[in-house]
Amino acid sequence: MKLQGEYVFDGPREDVWELVRDPEVLATALPGAQSLSQVSENEYEGTMNVRIGPVAGVFAGRVVVSDEVPPESYTLTVEGKGNPGWAKGSGQVRLVDQGDGTTLMKYEGEVQIGGRLASVGQRLIDSVSKSLIRQGLETLNQALQARIAAGCQGQEVNYCPPSEAEFAAAVAKDMATQAFASSPWLWAVLAALVVIVVVVVVLITRGG
């Protein structure tokens, strides 16, 4: 599966870079993340507890950052596996300073999936993952706003990320426009795909 897209962060490039390098921010922005830790300079490991609808399981992922050019670009290689199956892929993320105080993120990559992720979720992955990526990036952008606001006022960052349920609900709302109606099925697919997006979001937002 090919993934590519763009997203505009309302903040300067250096702040965005710093944000996507912070495992704690990411951990709170990702639904079901149990841990996300740096195991070496360019390597991170995390586990996510996925529990939505009928699909539940722990997904363990490993991310390697390479070709890093702060604050412009980096390449990610990601591998994850668990009860719902496996995913692996690599992608390139670029941050472009748009000169107006905003930063354009461009991402491009390819992900391969297996197990239940592939056999049950495949047909809807494309559209669902786009929605999930958007939700994830918006969450990060809100975290960025909170950081910037806190920085201006010299206060602690006071940002409460959306809960797992809120996150899923937002995605579900996106997907409601899609041409499938059965809600149990929707949840089954969502559950599988949130796992994917966790990997994908890690992939596109982790900076070394």
Partner: protein, 784 residues
């Protein structure tokens, strides 16, 4: 003697039980102390097993045992080859590589079992699967059939030089010379994809080893209970008398339930032998997509050489057949493909080069049609292309090539799946084709309706194809018929039943011989304790091989009845008749004795028995045909293509079938309607989609589309009867005929509907998306 019941549309004896939920299926078996199994399956299609740690799973409360390949010791062995390759083909290459119960070193297909958990409930067993830590080293997967034979392809079996599982060439006449003489040679690359049987009931096993009686009982969804019993006894060092295999009612077989053995079948049996407690495993639907055999993928390069007036001079069919990760079923499927490309036509010269390849996908074994739909698709597509190129009507080109009624028995000079020469026993093909042409209103449709509809902007087309179906192969089946003291007739046969109506059509045969109602015939199928010689239900052979064995046994029992009654009634046998459960003197109906009373007299408690006689009114008989009976048929369809959505609506569907003597037309038509549903799936809906890693991408009924009642048209059916000379009943099989020619007729009709575009369909199944792509490509070609 007059046939009172054979040939009648009698409602099925078994249906009240089935419809009211009173029939026993494997999942209904519930034994005290029964344990439940779940299997950990590989998420990779091709991977080396580095390590597997089951210690945490073993500690989970409620888990009784967890087994890996290592735990099985010497009991871990490859499955036996179910069908060996034909020994008579010259220069044949065949590498037998059979499946394993649990992966020991290397995973060869996604879904292959790595470990088995036995627990107090299935819930606990499934949860414990998550406790198992497996390290797999993924390897490049072999998926594409042509790439599988490239020198740099990964190897499914490391000990082989390539992924070539088999290679054989069959020849008839001199194809090269025929090609030289031909006015036109049609050559096309034709691809048929994979589908699954999607039986309503998944596989299931309940195994129970009773340590005190030293007996093993296995309830099994198999189509072949007797070979399973024999194989398990051999595998586990038991006497065949210690093993009882029961195939109760089974919710659809369709072929994949003939296998020796599925890994789960061996493992559940092995587990009960270890634990001395009953163990149950019922396949879930997702497992069914991974772990039950599939069929149909082949890539053909086929060539038809013809004269200018459309007479076939020769056929060349070189193809690659996908056997999946293992090849326990030998060459049955691709041999059927080779044979059925001959169709009902006179093909004097043939050259067929068959290569079978291993891929990292589920095992391929027969699935209703079993290679036949592919062969039919090849010859029918080539004939359609030839008709177009030669400017001959598609029906007319078929007429010109059909074998005449005096050609039989007709030897095609190649060997078939039963390793005997492909001989058509009998047939009368032209009336079958003409009947279909007449029923669909072919001439009128082409002359009047199609132009009118086209003028209205509608895309409606017609298709008509002919086909043959080899059925009723050997080696043999057997049956025992007994008159009980109650007057009821008990029949036991070795074949299993999966919805074919055996309890009715077999009862009709016995009823005619013994003068009872079919309702008074009690049939037991698929229980090795009741009858333990036979092979199974497959290859459209029940109504040929088992039915004739039952017929033979009933004839013998009739003889015993008459002999005894003659003595009791003091009347010559010729003057007796069997009516309403009684033997009576024809001219004096009040002088009679019931079958039940005769049965009691035949089994006396006192007195002397004459030497050389047997007690009871019972007989066991066997039937084995010299070779298979060849059924034939013609299908015709009118379809409409929606140019906006590319959906194809089948507006009419005509089936004319000649399956020899009809035992019960209602049941035959049921088989045809069901077959049509599968055939339509194979034409337009059902395709298993694998990615380049061997991952199945549509393992659910949300994504793998089965045609529903909305898509399957009501078929208009007609029968012709050309009895088989190879068996006393004259029957031929019909279990697969409904499915076999459907993709061919569908493709012809869709091409007809879109004739303006010069579309050529060289693949099955299509889908709306695929049809759209083909149409776009055809437009580009046309506009260029």
């Amino acid at each position: 003697m007059a046939k009172k019941y054979v040939g009648q549309r009698i409602k099925r004896n078994e249906d009240p039980r089935l419809l009211t939920g009173q029939a026993l299926f494997v999942d209904d078996v519930d034994l005290p102390g029964m344990l439940h199994a779940a299997f950990l399956r590989s998420d990779y299609a091709h991977a080396r097993l580095v390590s597997i740690d089951v210690s945490a799973a073993r500690r989970r409360p409620g888990v009784v045992a967890v087994y890996t390949a290592e735990d099985m010791g010497d009991d871990w062995q490859h499955g036996p080859p179910l069908v060996s390759p034909p020994p008579t083909v010259k220069d044949i290459v065949f590498h037998s590589r059979t499946q394993v119960p649990l992966v020991k070193d290397k995973v060869r297909l996604a879904g292959e079992p790595l470990a088995m958990v036995i627990a107090e409930s299935r819930y606990i067993a499934e949860d414990a699967l998550d406790d198992i830590v497996v390290e797999l080293e993924p390897l490049g997967a072999v998926v594409d059939l042509e790439e599988a034979l490239q020198p740099d392809a990964p190897l499914v079996h490391d000990d082989l030089d390539s992924n070539l599982a088999a290679h054989l060439i069959q020849k008839k006449g001199d194809y090269a010379a025929a090609r030289e003489q031909a006015d036109v040679v049609i050559s096309r690359r034709i691809v048929i994809d994979r589908g699954t049987a999607a039986a309503m009931e998944n596989r299931g096993y309940v195994a129970h080893w009773n340590p005190k009686s030293q007996e093993l009982t296995l309830w099994d969804t198999t189509q072949s209970p007797i070979p399973i019993r024999n194989g398990l006894a051999r595998m586990f060092g038991l006497s065949e008398h210690q093993v009882r295999v029961i195939a109760p009612f089974v919710g659809g077989g369709f072929g994949p339930k003939i296998m020796m053995f599925y890994p789960e079948e061996v493992m559940v049996t092995w587990a009960t032998l270890q634990l001395g407690r009953p163990v149950k495993w019922i396949e879930d639907r997702r497992e069914n997509f991974y772990a039950t055999n599939q069929e149909r993928e082949q890539v053909h390069t086929a060539e038809l050489a013809l004269t200018r007036d459309g007479h076939i001079l020769g056929l060349r069919d070189d193809f690659i057949h996908d056997t999946g990760a293992y090849d326990p079923y030998g060459l049955t499927v691709p041999l059927n493909t080779q044979c059925h490309a001959f169709g009902p036509y006179k093909i004097p010269n043939y050259y067929g080069d068959l290569k079978v390849v291993f891929t990292n996908r589920p095992i391929v074994s027969p699935l209703r049609g079993a290679g036949r739909p592919q062969g039919v698709f090849i010859i029918e597509r080539l004939l359609d292309v030839a008709a177009r190129e030669l400017g001959i009507d598609p029906v007319e080109i078929r007429r010109r090539n059909l074998l005449p009624p005096d050609a039989f028995p007709y030897d095609n000079e190649i060997i078939d799946q039963a390793f005997v020469p492909l001989v058509y026993d009998s047939g009368n093909y032209l009336p079958v084709l003409e009947k279909a042409v007449e029923m669909i209103g072919y001439e009128r449709f082409l002359k009047e309706e199609q132009p009118r509809l086209r003028a209205e902007g509608r895309h409606v087309g017609i298709g008509v194809v002919s086909f043959i179906e080899t059925t009723g192969i050997g080696p043999y089946e057997g049956a025992r018929v007994t008159v009980a003291p109650s007057g009821q007739i008990n029949v036991a046969t070795g074949v299993g039943t999966q919805g074919q109506g055996h309890f009715t059509s077999f009862a009709q045969i016995v009823a005619d011989q013994l003068g009872v109602s079919p309702h008074d015939v009690h049939l037991v199928t698929g229980d090795t304790a009741q009858f333990h010689w036979g092979t199974g239900t497959f290859a459209s052979r029940g109504a040929v091989v088992a039915a004739n064995a039952i017929h033979a046994a009933a004839v013998t029992v009739r003889g015993k009845v008459l002999k005894l009654a003659s003595k009791v009634l003091d009347t010559p046998e010729e003057e007796l008749e069997l009516v309403d459960g009684h033997v009576r003197v024809a001219d004096i109906p009040q002088r009679s004795i019931s079958l039940g009373q005769l049965a009691v007299l035949a089994n006396p408690l006192r007195g002397a028995v004459e030497p050389g006689t047997e007690p009871g009114l019972e007989a066991t008989a066997y039937f084995g045909p010299k070779y298979g009976a060849t059924a034939s048929g013609a299908h015709a369809a009118i379809v409409e293509v929606d140019p906006e959505t590319m959906m194809v609506d089948v507006k009419r569907y005509v089936i004319v079938e000649d399956c020899g003597t009809l035992l019960n037309p209602l049941i035959v038509e049921g088989q045809l309607h069901g077959g049509l549903a599968l055939g339509l799936g194979n034409s337009f809906y059902e395709k298993l989609v694998y990615d380049e890693n061997g991952q199945l991408l549509n393992a659910s009924f949300a994504d793998y589309l089965l045609p529903t009642a909305l898509e399957v048209p009501r078929a208009e059916v007609s029968h012709l009867e050309t009895p088989s000379p190879l068996n006393p009943l004259g029957s031929k099989g019909v279990g697969e005929g409904g499915a076999i020619p459907v993709p061919a007729v569908f493709a012809q009709a869709v091409e007809s509907a879109l004739a303006d575009y010069g579309l050529e369909i060289l693949e099955a199944p299509l889908s709306p998306n695929r049809l759209f792509e083909l149409l776009q490509a055809a437009r580009v070609t046309r506009d260029a």
